[in-house]
């Protein structure tokens, strides 16, 4: 059953807020506290907010399980590919070969609470993004599955 209009409106307003805040945490993982896991968890909590505010039948139509599964697999694949990418260039597995490489990526980073240089640190932001995608898919699909287990019992 859905909750009241007040809760639903709040959830609707906070859902993009959760998303953008999660993206902020993921994108600044190498500069400020946070990273892929934390940001993914924030975004997944946004999904949890939607799930709790609406009825299951409504939400299962709007959020597709298959899309989330795809998110998860793609995120993991990206993470693994980022690790494996060094192999083709003669570096070991998980070598951060892009750091300090000099071109668009890999400039040295400045001090400061938020220096604003998102493209430093080589592979780390890419890995952060990959893990963020994976975690948001994984955690929200766990919630969806468990709620479906409750609902389909009756």
């Amino acid at each position: 059953m859905k909750m009241t209009k007040i809760v639903r409106s709040t959830a609707d307003i906070f859902y993009p807020f959760c998303l953008i805040f999660g993206f902020y945490v993921v994108a600044h993982g190498h500069l400020t506290p946070g990273g892929g896991f934390q940001g993914g968890a924030v975004i997944a909590t946004g999904a949890a907010l939607l799930i709790v505010a609406r009825a299951y039948e409504d939400i299962s139509q709007r959020i597709r399980k298959n899309a989330l599964k795809l998110c998860e697999s793609i995120g993991l694949f990206m993470f693994l590919a980022a690790g494996l990418s060094g192999l083709f260039l003669g570096h070991p597995f998980f070598a951060n070969w892009l750091a300090q490489a000099g071109s668009i990526f890999g400039q040295p980073v400045a001090w400061g609470p938020n220096p604003g240089d998102l493209n430093t640190a080589g592979l780390l932001p890419l890995m952060n993004i990959a893990v963020g995608i994976e975690v948001l898919g994984g955690l929200s699909i766990i919630l969806l599955y468990m709620i479906s287990g409750v609902k389909e019992k009756e």
């Binding site: 007040i6 409106s9 859902y15 902020y24 709007r62 604003g116």
Partner: protein, 179 residues
Amino acid sequence: MSNMISFFVTSIFSFVVYLLLTAGSGSVLRLWSSQEIMAGAVLGLITGFAARKFFCSQRQSAPLNPLRWITAVLYVIGPFFIEMAKANVDVAYRVITGRIRPGIVRVKSGMKTDLGTLMLANSITLTPGTLTVGIDEETNDLFVHMINIPEGTEARESLEAREVFSIFNCPAWIRRIAE
């Protein structure tokens, strides 16, 4: 078409929030770096795509008008804050003396949109001795728990929203912002 509008509204909202979050990172306007603005634009578009069905679900054009945003800010730091301070003094008085006369009354909201109802409900919850307990989904009437019902009020079928607030006409402000 309305789909596009809600998409852009959500994106702009996200972009503003992102800029607030990343303030103090660089030299544009002494606050932002160019990279942050670019990343914010991209992430705002993504968020707009993902959340467009939720943020502006009922085709309301209220958030589009920048004047309303300014009114909202004024409302929050002006009437709302004073009401809230008064509410807290009231609650403090009740906490210390323990003199309460609680009950749940029906309040006619007169709001038509969800956003207005939300703002009114939250304003009521945060202001004098009142707490929104329930809502009538069709008429948007609120059921409000009051910590101190004035004598004689409990016999009335429903109250006007204006009567819940003491000094300012908050419902009018909200109507100006959200409808």
